[in-house]
Subunit: 319 residues, 6 copies
């Protein structure tokens, strides 16, 4: 079976894929004919596709986010690869394929990521901070295990948010070892909650974001997470102006560092500074790692990456 990332112009193929997007459109001809405008994906990447001769029966047979078997040919269209679908059908149980195999996911299992997150929360020795964190984790529920961290920017896949959080926790532990003056409980709490409201900011399924929610647009995940801490404090009987609540909200509110990046206040504690730079370091390196990982073996340059100053990244190989 051909991985999408290995497809090249002119090659023909048969294989199973996830029908990530599907729209029925009409050709310009007279009379106009229906066709499918499709995005196929597997764990290695995604590609747009056309299926030209759609029968009325087929129109009700397919829906976005379903698995399909496709026979097609890869063509070059406007400088980009595109699949011309010759045959397509929904998969059946006999095909023995599972949706989880066709989506991009973090390299660590969701259950392990959630365990690490939950265990770290339990390890916060300050009862109030621990309470605030656990309240918010509980509020998020199951989304913690599978949500992506962004629509396209970074960690935009199944369990991306949890993976980002766990990696940041590791980095945080390392830094607290290097610099004991940092308050480890506060830094852990900040890492655990800094992006937690992305679970409400984004509408996602199987790690794929379809859109921003109304709250996501009008409030944003930064102010939302801070408001969740207010809510947690009220429910737990902690004063909303107590130093711990304020310090934790400060970490959340300032973690984008600058106003033009969405933070209404700038970092003013060492832990807030640490949080911002841990977040940046992890996100930027992940962008580079993911972009290089998605690159066919024989290619040296990724496409330009918006989050990396719009630069393409070169694969270092020094022999």
């Amino acid at each position: 079976m051909t991985l999408i990332k290995e497809m090249t112009s002119g090659s023909e193929f048969v294989g199973f894929y996830l029908l990530r997007e599907l729209e029925v459109k009409q050709t310009n001809g007279t009379p106009p004919k229906d066709y499918f405008d499709i995005v196929l994906c597997d764990a290695s990447g995604q590609i747009s596709a056309k299926y030209w001769d759609v029968s009325p029966a087929e129109k009700s047979l397919f829906a976005p986010m379903g698995l399909v078997k496709v026979q097609g040919i890869v063509q070059l269209y406007r400088e980009k690869l595109q699949v011309k679908v010759n045959r397509i059908r929904p998969t059946t149980e006999q095909d023995g394929v599972a949706i989880a195999d066709f989506i991009k996911a973090a390299p660590i299992a969701a259950v392990d990521l959630v365990n690490t997150i939950r265990r770290t929360a339990l390890d916060i020795s300050d009862a109030e901070l621990r309470g605030l964190v656990e309240y918010c984790l509980d509020k998020v529920g199951d989304k913690l295990s599978h949500y992506p961290a962004a629509k396209t920017h970074h960690h935009n896949y199944y369990s991306g948010l949890a993976y980002h959080t766990v990696r940041m926790l590791e980095l945080g532990e390392f830094l607290c070892g290097q610099r004991p003056f940092l308050n480890a409980n506060l830094l852990r709490a900040g890492i655990l909650l800094h992006d937690i409201a992305k679970t409400e900011e984004l509408t996602a399924s199987l790690g794929i974001v379809s859109e921003y929610s109304l709250q996501g647009k009008l409030i944003g995940h930064i102010a939302m997470a801070s408001q969740w801490v207010t809510e947690a404090a009220l429910q737990l009987g902690i004063r909303t102006d107590s130093p711990k609540v304020v310090a934790l909200q400060h970490l959340i509110l300032s973690h984008h560092n600058l106003g033009e990046w969405g933070s209404p206040v700038q970092p003013q504690t060492a832990e807030a500074i640490a949080l911002h730079y841990i977040d940046s370091l992890d996100a930027k390196l992940q962008m580079a790692e993911d972009a290089l990982g998605a690159l066919p073996e024989h290619e040296a340059w990724t496409p330009p990456i918006r989050g990396l100053e719009g630069k393409a990244i070169y694969r270092t190989h020094l022999g």
Copy 2:
């Protein structure tokens, strides 16, 4: 009695003033001698002053924010006017002066401003919005009547916040008349709450801000006010993600318009756009009106004003 704004270099005077700031310092001489580094103010403005020959007894006689009788001479020092104090004493009851006469205040009485604010809140016909607003107004208590709206930027005087709010309400009513598609209840609620958390962001007395509070620095009045709405909703049994709560928080969070001006999200409803521009228009015109009002009659140009692109303002008189 000489108004501070009318003082000129070389003039001698006797009068009552408010001792806005007072610090005991030492001269460079051997042995060093104590002197008072002072800021005097009245309703027309403020001026720095020195009192050189402080006796030990006098050191315990004065405190900031007390009224004093001063005899002194005005001098030019480093391009600025400064008072050399010859005699100074605290006022007594017999002097018949009241502190309220010596501080800058809004041109409308505090009680009237608060009445207008309270009545407008009552007039919000939507019960949930009215509830959220009144909860926050109650929370602020007495500060609503006397707090300034800023440390130096604009409306930085007694009742400045209430005055700014009332003027914006008038402008809002006018606009809702011009453009009936605007939701008047929401806009009123947004105007009433947009700066309400300045009462916690700033530490102020008699309309004079001494500093930013810890919460003011780490959270800021924008996120704080939005969190108060969360708190109000929880206390009143309104869902925190209900459309009215979200719409009102959006107005508060976006009212500085841009991220670099402190808003974590940008205006995305017509009412949010209206709120931002009403706020700007009122603040900018007030800066110009106050700066021109503080200018001696015969002068044409104010000092440069940071909030007005750093420009000095020219007094238009077209005969």
Copy 3:
């Protein structure tokens, strides 16, 4: 008859529309065939259209800005709606349709807007300011009644400029009531003339801008309007460096506030500050009002609006 703003993919329709743009193009086939690339509009909006099988006779039958009767079907093409025209013919007198019904226009009649403008000019009690204003209004002639205020930014329709001016005058009167220190004559004159040279900057017909004029590009409406005041002063025998001329030119030159927005000087009088913020407030709210008005009833979000920080606007409905 189907309003353009209510058209949906797949619907067929017959109706009258304005042929806003028309270009004859060739298909890629061999031999290439002529087709019409069209923009249809009515008062509710506009849509692009294709008419595929153009006969030689038809090529001379149609011209831009003519009224046509169209039978067609709405299709989705590259994420946008587009009309496939099946039949098209120019309207005749018998159809009983008038061009004025098919263009977007201000909600107040042109004649009323011009009356308000003229009456306000007459009401300027300072003879010199009144003379300068009337000279410029006379110079513009008939364009005052129908010109739009911009190509796409805001008030881009029939009588848009006059409508913007009248709304700003109302706001200006309100503010002069709130703040009597403002010079009402000067502010009125500034509002009346601030965008007056848009009538030379833009080439427009029926409220639709086709392009910028040479003077519009090389001089711009800001410097042009200021030069008209110079011309008016010379013709009326007023010194070009008299305080009133300078003050009025200052309002015109500074009304975009910042250099990067096109103003060679920044506002330095209270009236200039007022003019800029009145202009912003009116333009921004009108953008939001027009974008929401053009939205089909069941939709909640407008497209992104460049003049509103590139944000889409959400229709507030709080039940």
Copy 4:
């Protein structure tokens, strides 16, 4: 006699200088005593000075911009050199000193600069452009010979404006030779008029700017010069919208290149581009040349220069 630029800390001197600024101030002592706060200058530079024991008679003896004989000592005060004046008196005819010897001036005589300017204007072979230019030169009158080009930025000395203009004309002739597609008449006219309104924007005497005029602040030299061309056209019977008037006004209006540098439109003709870069090149090199020329021989670095990205300039000497 000691040149100001050669003064060093601790040195005593006697010499003639120009009293560029003079203010009578009072010491902090009791009773306060009068002293003179002075700026002395000669053709090599300027230095601040204090004269401590001023007698009442002396207070009426001196005025700014008069020549004086000074005996004093150079001291270091707050990292800067300053003169402590021991004796000072106005010069008399017997001293045989002339004010022209004590001010900084262009290295070419004013009369020669004006001749070059006038001859170049006459050489413009297009009668209308020549007429517009000569009208503006006539309007300026005598100021053309002695005005500086700026308060501090560049060419801030006697005949600085004429010198800048002549150097730019030379560069313009060279470029028109290199690139014959340029319209030499238009470029000459643009160079001659681009800064001509600095004669009204600035209030200057002997090449020293004391302040910006009201028109300078509210209109600025860019819009002012463009308006002079409007006035010239009206007086000469040339249509204000004729291509030559528009092209010349475009050069003037766009010569600062960017909005944030004060140009309401950006260069859109080859001649406008040429004018901007000729202006920059001449101004920047003159800043460097003047700063290095004012540097004592043994020093390698000038002070930071705002117009050169805030950089200090290093004197190249490669042996």
Copy 5:
């Protein structure tokens, strides 16, 4: 024969052109058919073209950068002109056409440009500077004669780099005459080397850049040229920290003036300032001259030019 810049929609033509780009693609039909996606060019400009019915034999007959004879028709496609090729064949010797006639080139012969460059290098009277310059010129070898100065920005044609260099040398000589304080040897050396490493930064053939090299992307021509001077110094036995090496590297490193334009340091010598502004002036004027030269005679406005603030340029014709 029809010049590309003179082609208009609908015209048919036969002529010789350079096949600048050639890609074999497939149509969307079933079965997909091969076609050529082509860019044709001549000395006057370039145009995209399609050749629809490619036979298998033809696929091996053509290669990019070969000369071809074409019979075709010009059509309008998505607002742009495009050629539909009817017949195409490679040229033969009998056709008597030479590739040099079909590429855009500097208006002065390469051999003359190189002679001027070499002679100027020889004229540098300082032996060390001369040695450094000649080492770098030798290193570049033949590329000096034909390399362009950029991919698209300016001087993007055969001998563009040498032409830019020679014009800058002329301007440099003129300025050293105007301002003798400039070190002419250093300025010449800086002009000769400032863009010299573009020969390694870009991969070009016949004056056409196909891409940036790896070094070009990872090091850039500015740091590369500076490193060549280090290498030259080491090979010639000159200390790498000697004043001449440092001064010359400073000119190279700072010649883009600002960090955001690629210079790691800003100009801090008069020669470095001169170099930057000479470079700007020459590049900007050339952009305007080339864009106007490429414009059909009857058109007045060029397309927008990125290097000129994104502005279109107007052809001045004042009769």
Copy 6:
């Protein structure tokens, strides 16, 4: 003995300090008298001081960077603490004090830092990269052990550069463990060399920078270090355009990330991205740690820190 960071207004003290800066100045009196303008420092901080009655003998007794015994009193002058020195003398051997005890230094001994650096260089398993690194380390010699990393920005003390390097190496090892796709040899080499040329950019003694060198200003440490790699390659017989040299120079040149921060190219390999963010993280956290460490115990806020967006940092203490 009183630590400088613990001094408070009004306190008298006797102790040993380092005379970090010393200038002889004159008072304004008649006759002017000499006094010392001094900066005293110890390992905890620094303070300015005045010694008023300097005898001629004393003027030759003291020099900057000498140890002194001081008896003085702390005063408040212009909002800042300042010492009035009553008695001062150079230390003698009997005093038993060593200069190393009075300067701020990294918390790890220089010898250990250098050992770690040298051992890491030896551990680079790629011979060419190792050779390039060792060449540069050898070139720096002894300065590696004691140089600061900056004048004021961060790590501005004895062994600051080595300390910064070692901390970054630790962080680099951690990240290479987390993300094995990173080339550990290249990242180590980049960390070791990224700031190595600060040893030539800055002129420093005992960890205190007195100024930038000529090369530091005209070339800068970024381009200088890259040129050292060129030199190393030439001396070691490695091609200057080999992938390893280019990759290493890329890390050095891009490590400030943006052009406006001094990097002529932006990071385009994963290792370059890692280097930049490791550098930022370490520098920012060190700024916060040092500023909090220099704060008297009872204070909660540091002064504003330029490298941390100009924000003051709050000491987190959550009980």
